[in-house]
């Protein structure tokens, strides 16, 4: 890892008079095994590396990247980024992050045992998962794919403004896509388990989840349209929180794209709503020592007792707003510069289980999964409409399965109409934690 930090530090040192240079470099290894019908369908192994360089001069910035860490390529990339600077519009707030004295959290996101984990064992795990799902229930017809995957990534950032950051993380997952039913009907269910190393993986849990989700949908029908209370399963909540994150970005606020602009201090959600982004929580999948500009990640409270407390910022949006960066810069690999985003959002859990929440709701809908999030949720207008499937809740208990429905409302209303948050918080492979949430009323469109 010191190799990467040395590289980025050296290149950041090539900054010329009147210029700021940021160098981000990453290196990773990954394996993926896909099993189908007790045979290996594919076995992929790969290494990748790349560099992204940002140059700032005269209040303008340019960016360039390359999929190589070779010295000559890195030098060319810096030259290209420098050349790109001239075309930006000057903006007094443009500039790199500067060291802010915040100590990085001591996070251990790396598992040495992953490195030593033999390929044979990875294959066995995927096969075992497939077998357990098949044996889990006679109604399981086939397994579309059973997968094991892992990755080990190191990244380093250095800037001519004094930022020096290097960190590494490992991850691995097991995932299965099961089909249940007969000739006349098919239902599907996905189960998975994720962790930082092989010892975190729970094969049985992933298998049971896929079996349960696929088989409980058998016999699903399209119900009549209705307005009713909706209980969101943990995975669904995690998806919604990651959309909500976009509306809580300081950059979206500055650019007039956030529904929550000018609403700090106001009630935007139900009083039990407490929302935090905390990448320093080692249990979070998105836990990270540093943000994408090399500042130490920290805990940021966004909503407290339903009241909006603030937004997430990177260096640019913070400077332009007149507040410090919240170390919320993220980037999608080395091919793009930083932007604002959440890494580890979670709602403060309540004290009821999912079953207790269903009992409380009485008559309603449990949503097991949603689809069309990108086409049906508009984070600017707040319009919310997604495809859904799940179980009806009748007399406080889970009843018949339903499919081919949509649930609709608006982001603003949904936050205000939350009536319960479950005690089942779990970190999912996402920028948010899952937890059961009940919403007082939504429109369900069906037959």
């Amino acid at each position: 890892m010191s190799g990467l930090l040395d590289l980025v530090t050296r290149v950041a040192g090539w900054a010329q008079e009147g210029e700021q240079v940021e160098v981000y470099a990453m290196r990773g290894r990954e394996t993926e095994v896909v099993v189908y019908d007790a045979d290996i369908e594919s076995l992929s192994s790969a290494t990748s590396a790349g560099v992204g360089v940002r140059v700032v001069r005269d209040h303008r910035q340019g960016f360039a990247y390359a999929g190589s860490l070779d010295d000559d390529v890195v030098a060319e990339t810096l030259a290209e980024a420098r050349d790109n600077v001239a075309f930006g519009t000057p903006d007094e707030f443009v500039g790199l992050a500067e060291p802010d004295g915040m100590e990085p959290a001591a996070l251990d996101l790396w598992r040495d045992d992953l490195e030593a984990f033999p390929t044979e064992r990875k294959i066995e795990l995927a096969m075992e998962l497939e077998r357990r799902v098949k044996e889990g229930d006679p109604r399981i017809r086939s397994i579309n794919s059973s997968e094991y995957g892992d990755g080990m990534v190191e990244a380093a950032i250095a800037t001519s403004t004094g930022i020096r950051a290097a960190h590494r993380r490992s991850s691995c997952y097991l995932s299965v896509y099961a089909l249940a039913g007969d000739e006349a009907e098919t239902q599907t269910g996905v189960g998975y388990s994720v962790g930082r190393g092989p010892s975190d993986i729970e094969v049985e849990e992933a298998a049971a989840d896929a079996v349960e989700r696929a088989t409980r949908m058998l016999g699903a029908r399209k119900p009549a349209s209705a307005r009713l209370p909706v209980v969101l399963d943990t995975r669904v909540t995690a998806t919604l929180l990651s959309i909500l994150a976009g509306t809580l970005s300081g950059e979206a606020v500055l650019k007039g794209r956030s529904l929550f602009a000018n609403r700090v201090g106001e009630l935007v959600g139900a009083p039990m709503l407490v929302l935090t982004d905390d990448p320093t929580d080692p249990a979070a999948y998105g836990a990270s020592t540093y943000d994408a500009e090399g500042l130490a990640c920290r805990r940021n409270r966004l909503i407290s007792e339903g009241v909006l407390e603030g937004f997430l910022y990177d260096a640019y949006s913070g400077r332009r707003t007149g507040v410090p960066s919240t170390a919320s810069a993220v980037r999608a690999g080395f091919k793009s510069g930083p932007g604002v985003g959440a890494r580890a959002l979670s709602l403060e859990p309540g004290d009821r289980s999912q079953a207790e929440i269903a009992a409380m709701v009485g008559e309603g809908l449990l949503v097991q999964s949603i689809s069309g999030v990108h086409s049906g949720v508009n984070p600017v207008s707040g319009d919310f409409s997604v495809g859904a499937e799940g179980l009806m809740i009748r007399g406080g208990a889970f009843a018949e399965p339903v499919r081919e429905i949509t649930i609709a409302s608006s982001i603003q209303r949904m936050l205000k109409e939350i009536v319960a948050v479950g005690n089942d918080l779990e970190w999912l492979p996402s920028s948010a934690a899952g937890v059961t949430v009940a919403i007082g009323e939504m429109s369900m469109s069906g037959a």
């Binding site: 990748s48 999929g67 930006g88 510069g337 086409s375 207008s381 081919e404 429905i405």
Partner: protein, 464 residues
């Protein structure tokens, strides 16, 4: 891109431990993009990425490795890693004779993006920004993006194939925000083609931006979309997302092979109304999903999927076709050299019928007219799919009336195909620039269709 004898050595290494088939895929991609937002050109980005993916197939097992190191040592190490999956096979030395395949392109780009001054790309953004803002006082935000990709690929395999392609794609997008009494609304327009900078000789970025602005402005007076089943008239062009989701993904042979599609075993059967003919055509001129060869070296082709309502064929890649004992249909695509190819669509089009598009609306007493769709998503195993409307209107007494707020529609593929009760004689390709995601890989796809009507689809709004 690589020396022929080196390719032969790498393929030989890949099969050293056994295997039925080996392939080297080399990619060299140069990309540049520029973004304007909030009145400022924020950043110009340029990048280069190249590497090779090597796969070895043994029976039903594929071994795959990729590397950014295109030296002989790097390639042979990747070949070794890919070949490791072929354990226990009858290895040995294999002589592979390569035959260079002639590549015909439907269109040759006139102006390569790397020869265009960066300032000209930036200037397009500024023109789009000004035009969108001038469209109405309620336009409070505009972002515009320019992007080009110049992608050279080489595919060679142990069957003796050696093919190369050199493709340029150029894309321009505008998104707008309008603010009014009822809150904010958004508008989006894009244009994407498999061509060079000459795109802008024909594409009026100011008009594109004005359209995106009008879309947001119109929605300021939109009412909530209805909730429930209604007839839906889908305008020519972008509405083809419906077919992409309702049956396109379900016609991909990987889903068929695993019986994970509602269309498995249905070739020769009536799956849609007799007015429906659907093709997948990778050879269409300068369209967004067009290419000369797919990412397995197979020339692009036109495949009829549905003819007069009857399912005629699926889409195939190399592996699935080999298993079925038939040729690939040129649908083997991958996002980059770092991914394995799979079955993907190219340009998926419904052919025109013979009804008058305006008459379709007039004959609809109460329903919805969809002028623009966003994306969608499908579960091919159940056939349930959603697609989002980003510009839509109510139809009342055969006339298009009030604009509607964004919502998803949901349907079941086979049912919706049967419920198409009218296909008009007009036809338009979607503007282009759309990306299709599958198993984590994103590729450019095109689509087109005439105006058509579905007798009933569930509209996921909030109004009673």
């Amino acid at each position: 891109m690589l020396d022929q004898s080196l390719i032969q050595r790498v393929l030989g290494d890949a099969l050293r431990r056994g295997g039925d088939f080996a392939e080297v895929f080399v990619e060299d991609r140069r990309a540049s993009s520029a973004r304007l937002d909030d009145g400022r050109v924020e950043e110009l980005t340029s990048g280069r990425d190249r590497g090779a993916g090597i796969r070895v197939v043994v029976g039903d097992t594929t071994g795959f490795a990729h590397t950014a190191d295109l030296s002989e040592a790097g390639l042979r190490a990747a070949a070794e890693a890919a070949g490791a999956a072929a354990r226990g096979g009858g290895g040995g030395v294999r002589e592979i004779a390569l035959t260079r395949q002639h590549t015909t392109r439907a269109y040759e780009p006139a102006v390569l993006p790397e020869t265009v001054e960066k300032a000209r790309k930036v200037e397009l953004l500024e023109r789009a920004n000004e035009s969108a803002r001038a469209t109405g006082d309620a336009i409070v935000q505009v972002s515009a993006g320019y992007a080009d990709v110049h992608r050279r690929i080489l595919v060679s395999n142990s069957d003796g194939l050696l093919a190369e392609d050199d493709a340029v794609r150029t894309r321009f997008v505008v998104s707008t925000v309008a603010n009014g009494d009822t809150g904010m609304q958004t508008g989006f327009e894009s244009s994407g083609h498999t061509m060079g900078f000459e795109l802008f000789d024909e594409l009026d970025v100011e008009e594109l931006a004005a359209k995106a602005a009008r879309r947001a402005l119109t929605k300021l007076r939109a009412r909530p979309a209805p909730s429930g089943v209604l007839p839906v008239v889908i305008g020519a062009g972008r509405g083809a997302v419906l077919f992409h989701e309702a049956c396109g993904h379900g016609f991909e042979a990987d889903a068929i092979e695993k019986q994970a599609s509602t269309y498995a075993g249905k070739v020769g059967r009536q799956v849609a109304a007799p007015t429906v003919t659907l093709v997948d055509d990778g050879t269409l001129g300068r369209e967004w999903g067009t290419f000369a060869i797919d990412d397995e070296g197979r020339p692009a082709q036109r495949t009829v999927l549905i003819e007069n309502g009857v399912l005629t064929d699926y889409m195939w890649d190399f592996l699935r076709a080999r298993k079925a004992g038939r040729p690939s249909s040129g649908n083997g695509r991958r996002e980059t050299y770092q991914s394995l190819p799979m079955v993907r669509m190219t340009n998926t089009c419904v052919l025109p019928g013979d009804e008058d598009p305006e008459e379709l609306v007039r004959q609809t007493p109460h329903g919805i007219y969809v002028a623009q769709m966003g994306g969608g998503q499908v579960n091919t195993a159940t056939g349930d799919f959603v697609f989002g409307m980003t510009e839509a209107y109510l139809i009342e007494n055969g006339e298009i009336t009030d604009p509607l707020r964004d919502a998803n529609l949901i349907g079941n593929g086979p049912e919706v195909l049967r419920n198409i009760d009218a296909v008009a004689s007009d036809f338009a390709m979607a503007e282009g620039g759309g990306m299709c995601g599958k198993n984590g890989q994103s590729v450019p796809v095109g689509m087109g269709q005439p105006t058509l009507r579905v007798s009933g689809v569930t509209v996921g709004g909030t109004a009673a």
